[in-house]
């Protein structure tokens, strides 16, 4: 959820690390060796339980290991496997599909809604709507998954709705069907994303000076002109954040797949995070699992970096 925080901060903090006796910029920021004592406990926990294992994952990815016997050196085999093994390639392809559902669709829908809503950011009762729209964000993904299993079940909400409008022929077990399982999981992401993006964009719109709208409207601008001239530029930073958060969420998808389909039917819904878990702890291919995990991490970092380049230079708020 907070994936982009560091990124945004990167531009803001420019103090050089370990600078020599330059005059302190703030009165209380003295050169202070005690600083290490304050940082040490947190750093040790970070290093032992996150930093070191992260490096080990890279190391593991160069070995073939089943988790208990002796490991054999694999060199780059586990990485060449990623591009040659169709099941791994497919899982990354599935991530691409999920990005559309998790990110592009919600951002587009939320932008459209924002265009309609931006004229009245201080609508009465907005707080209640915001609370409801944001509610899915705080519900455990395992609970979300079990709820959607019910919704997609043969007598669930979706099929019930289809029958109600006379589309009996379309009904099916959505999560069990090779063609619909992946989009069905994607739609859960869309459901999660729309509220998040809308709340994010509205918080951006709330910072726009209302008189801007008045001025443009006096010029006779319509809804769309108004949107492109005022709203869109004002919330550009928020759009970048929304893209980052939702794309990263799509790439990190694990809980939903694990609980709803375990990658099935067949391998119709495998995703890299699930492949990595499955190989590390079920099929005992720890090296291959590590290589997938490393690749996934690199993909996430690269995409985050690429998206952040769309960020306007000045602070969006």
């Amino acid at each position: 959820m907070v994936a982009s925080a560091a990124l945004v901060d990167g531009a803001a903090a420019v103090a050089p690390g370990g600078s020599v006796a330059s005059a302190p910029t703030r009165g209380t920021r003295r050169r202070d060796w005690k600083g290490y004592l304050y940082v040490l406990p947190a750093f040790v926990v970070f290093a032992v339980f996150l930093g070191m294992p992260l490096l080990q994952t890279v190391w593991y990815s160069f070995w073939n290991w089943n988790g208990f016997g002796t490991a054999t050196w694999a060199g780059l085999d586990n990485y060449t496997e990623i591009v040659s093994d169709p099941s791994i390639l497919r899982s990354f392809g599935h991530s691409g599909v999920l990005i559309v559902f998790y990110s592009f669709v919600p951002v587009a829908v939320a932008l459209m809604l924002t265009a309609i809503l931006s004229r009245s950011p201080r609508l009465r009762g907005l707080g209640l709507f915001r609370t409801l729209l944001f509610l899915p964000q705080v519900i455990a993904s395992v609970v979300v998954a079990t709820s959607w299993i019910a919704i997609y079940s043969p007598d669930g909400l979706i099929n019930q709705g289809l029958r109600a409008v006379g589309l009996e022929g379309v009904t099916r077990a959505w999560l069990g069907d090779f063609d619909t399982a992946l989009p069905a999981i994607g739609l859960v992401g869309t459901w999660l994303g729309i509220g998040l993006c809308l709340v994010l964009f509205l918080s951006g719109v709330a910072t726009i000076d209302g008189e801007l709208f008045e001025a443009v409207r006096l010029d006779g601008a319509g809804l769309w002109r108004e949107f492109f001239a005022i709203t869109l530029p004002a919330i550009r930073g928020h759009i970048v954040i929304a893209l980052t958060l939702t794309i990263v969420a799509a790439l990190k998808t694990f809980d939903l797949v694990y609980v709803t389909t375990r990658g099935g039917p067949g391998s119709a819904t495998t995703v890299p995070a699930f492949e990595a878990y499955n190989r590390a702890f079920n099929t005992r291919e720890v090296g291959s699992a590590s290589a997938i995990a490393v690749t996934l991490t690199v993909v996430i970092l690269l995409i985050t970096l690429a998206v952040s380049r769309l960020q306007p230079k000045e602070d969006p708020r």
Binding site: V2, A3, A5, L7, D9, A12, G17, G18, R26, G27, T28, R29, R30, R31, D32, K34, G35, Y38, V39, A42, F46, F49, L50, G51, M52, Q56, G67, L117, R119, S120, L123, L132, F134, L135, P136, Q137, V138, I139, A140, V143, T146, I149, A150, S153, G156, V199, S203, E211, I241, F254, D255, Y258, V259, P272, A273, A276, I292, A293, I300, T304
Partner: protein, 274 residues
């Protein structure tokens, strides 16, 4: 600004429609959880009587009392540990000068972007080799490490905004670093600290992968993990599953209802403002 009546209606219509889309699946869960066990089909239908027994049945069969207890132990420990460690670290990062401070800070921020898969595989084998898997430590310490990135980042921002003059004055009065931190800087930072604690509670409570990998003993299972196993055993008993889902989600949803401003401003602010 002024908007016409028609526009206001349109706005309310749009907001209502999408708010409904957000909550209808959840209303479905609530209705299903109150439908007598045999009749629940997973759809939206008003039960002819309110079957509250689903909750007690899910609680007993699913052993959710034990799962909730584990979740509470783990969540409280992670929040307390993270807050204490991060407060000291953020204080140093925000208000002290020492070589490599920024390097160390950005290193720790790496945790913000990493998928858990990037570190859990070796972490599992490390902890197993020292006999720590299947213990609360295996749940608490890795999640503390994960939360520290956000907590240090969040608190450093907060502590940097603190006016220098007051700190200077306290120092002149002879206050040491510890005293400055706990007596001068922490008290007015309380809202930010509460927001942070709420977000970390939510992330820890809802976490699934780390408990899935680290523990096999049933008594250590956290609520989401327990629900996943329960789902495996009662795949089509939607009434029971919905009741169980509500039990698992309720503590955080209640926190959210009480403190929604903290949640929304924290999650939006944490990502926007930096």
């Amino acid at each position: 600004m002024r908007i016409t009546r028609g526009e206001a209606l349109l706005n309310y219509g749009v907001l209502t429609l999408f708010s409904l889309m957000a909550v209808v699946p959840l209303i479905g869960v609530v209705l299903t959880s109150l439908t007598p066990s045999g009749q629940a089909g997973g759809g939206l239908r008003v039960p002819d009587r309110l079957a509250f027994e689903n909750f007690s049945e899910a609680w007993d069969i699913g052993r959710f009392g034990s799962y909730l207890l584990s979740s509470v132990i783990v969540t409280v420990s992670v929040v307390v540990l993270t807050t204490v460690l991060a407060t000291f670290a953020a204080f140093a990062f925000a208000r002290m000068r020492f070589p490599l401070s920024n390097t160390i800070f950005y290193l720790m921020l790496v945790g913000l972007m990493l998928p858990a898969e990037a570190f859990v595989i070796p972490l599992y084998y490390n902890l197993r080799s020292v006999g720590l898997t299947d213990s609360y430590w295996a749940l608490i310490l890795p999640q503390t490490a994960q939360s520290l990135a956000f907590a240090v980042f969040w608190l450093r921002n907060q502590f940097r905004q603190f006016p220098d003059g007051i700190v200077e004055a306290a120092r002149i009065d002879g206050a040491g670093d510890i005293r400055v931190l706990w007596r001068i800087i922490v008290p007015p930072s309380r809202p930010a600290i509460i927001t942070m604690c709420l977000l970390i509670s939510m992330w820890t409570w809802n976490e699934f992968l780390i408990p899935l990998i680290m523990v096999t003993r049933e008594s250590l299972r956290t609520a989401p993990l327990g629900l996943a196993f329960f789902q495996g055993q009662h795949a089509t008993d939607f009434a029971l599953l919905s009741a169980a889902g509500i039990i698992v989600a309720a503590p955080i949803v209640l926190l959210y209802v009480v403190a929604q401003r903290h949640f929304i401003s924290g999650m939006i602010g944490g990502s926007v403002k930096g």
